[in-house]
Symmetry: none
DNA sequence: CATGAATGAGGCTTCATTCAT
DNA sequence: GATGAATGAAGCCTCATTCAT
């Protein structure tokens, strides 16, 4: 029934997300997605008209979820600085946990359609940070600056922790090291914007 | 003779770099590389055992060149702050000009081997910034901080300007806008590390 | 009950005929036929054991209808020449109107079974013209000739007007041009058989 | 070398032609063409950029050959009637021998590109007959008539002998029957156009 | 009986790699 | 050594047919 279909659809998206997160678009072939979702390749096409559309949905769904979280944090009461710190730390932590976000920021052009969706998603994501920065600039907590560029820098900074060379690749890292890294990143960003 | 072989090898690497820079790994098929190098596909395999190995060499060669430039800047006389500013601006500018570097930082996992090389290259690149930061911390110009994390943040920050949503995608951007963006990025990074 | 089943069956055949007439066998997938018939794909298989059998029925039903029309014309009172002219013009007109018949004559081999049915249908169709020709030969209106071959030539002649290069492809054609074409075809056929 | 390539190309075209002639476009899958040509599927794409382009070449090459033959006959000295008879008989004979032409006239739409080429080819073919008819009308041998429509009728008439129900399908037919059929067709056409 | 989601083979196309010339 | 035609596996997608509900 209805439920089963929705479950399958979600299963497909999850499978695609998992594969992309693990090995990039390269490893997320339709055959692999179907196998990981426990369906036949043909079945995928009942739910998505093409590989590009599936990937776009995976991307936008993941980013939508992250943005929701982000806006809760950004819209909470408190100083802009605290909210920024909270946002950066939350997302650095999520990134380090390898959840949901990584692949959305990866850049290799796979397909014009998908790429357009990726750019849109990144912009939306970045805009939440921009608004937070403008709040702080208005209230005098943050120095005057190009909020658009700074938002990009912040996103880039903690994204780098995710895919960059200091990201804990295969080797397991203790929770302490992790906490230190997150703290370092958030301090970096706060210093960069503070008045 | 020896010279001709070396010339061919260099020609292949250059051709591959050009193609990757233009359209990502996706456009750099072995046939395209061979054609661009003025050789046959078979000949490529006299110089490189596989596509992965060729790409690894392309990557490391490009990064080696960038690191050379970077170390000149980082090792020049002057305050750490000025050298950092110089380094960040130079690389932001190079990235915006779409030269050589971009693909080395943004590539999605094409191949496990290539990806390992990419991570190594990023680390080397990041390490130059680390040394610069440590210099500044020692001299008191920069505040005490996790140099490794900050270096990653700096690299991430200007990389984001390259592939992120504020990057000048297709539309040409005036030199003034460009200069403003670069200035904004470098100011961001300097504020973040300064004492 | 019985009636409902028969109605469904007829509905399926009509849906298939409509789709084939519009876009050829290529557009008549089982899913499309089912949708057009307001039934599920599975239901089609309660009425027809396979796609081939459905198409065969579509074909023979359509041709049976055409033959009925044709025999009315051929069996009407009047000279053989008039009846032939009437028959040719009627079918040229029907063909130009894109009704029902076209695909039965022009289909390429989709399936061995279907093709056999197509050939049989064409023969039946042609035989009505043969009988008309024999009438005319017997009465002296038409010259002595191989009636079987002539019938085939007549059918071919106006079929060509349907799918051939002078057929009004996409561009709409005025009723005058149409009438002229039909007249030209029927004159051609009459001259060919007249004593 | 050069020769081998040309031979392969010709082999591919021949293989495709053979398959199309036997079972229509339906049986001429790229895999089947490759197998029949003694090559791998990938190899086909060294010679033709797509299935559509291969089929277009097969079509136009075959028709070009037929048109060459046809123009020799149409351009020979002699009365228009004799030349028309000669042309019709030659092509009826060729059609009965199942050579080269059949598939070029078959109508199932496979692909927009291929279909456009098919229509063009048919038109070219028909135009040779048109010119012959106009010759005869000018010289008074043929009655006044719509040459375009008559040419289509002639082509249709003998094409019908090829794919129609009286065409000797599987059963072998004696040379006498064959000759009679051809004579009947040509007589039909001549009567249809004569003054 | 009807539904329509699921299957799975098969179609077109690409491309890293090999090997006869 | 160099060439580039050939291979063949793999990718995306379609669709006739089946079967659990």
């Amino acid at each position: 029934m209805q439920q089963r279909l929705a479950a399958n659809r979600a299963q497909i998206v999850r499978a695609a997300r998992r594969l992309i997160a693990r090995g990039g678009f390269r490893e997320a072939s339709m055959v692999a997605v179907a196998a990981a979702a426990g369906l036949s390749t043909g079945a995928i096409y009942r739910y998505f008209p093409s590989k590009a559309q599936l990937f776009i949905e995976v991307l936008t769904a993941a980013v939508a979820h992250e943005i929701e979280l982000l806006e809760q944090i950004a819209g909470a009461p408190g100083t802009a600085a605290l909210r920024l710190q909270n946002a950066v730390e939350t997302f650095a932590r999520r990134a380090l946990e390898g959840r949901n976000l990584a692949y959305a920021f990866i850049a290799e052009p796979i397909d014009a359609e998908v790429d357009a969706a990726r750019i849109r998603s990144r912009r939306e994501f970045s805009e939440v940070f921009q608004r937070l920065l403008r709040d702080g600039i208005r209230s005098g907590e943050f120095c005057r600056q190009d909020a658009e560029a700074s938002a990009a820098c912040i996103v880039g900074a903690f994204t780098e922790a995710l895919v960059g060379p200091i990201a804990p690749g295969g080797k397991a890292v203790g929770p302490q090291t992790r906490a230190q890294l997150i703290a370092a990143i958030s301090q970096f960003c706060l210093r960069a914007v503070r008045a």
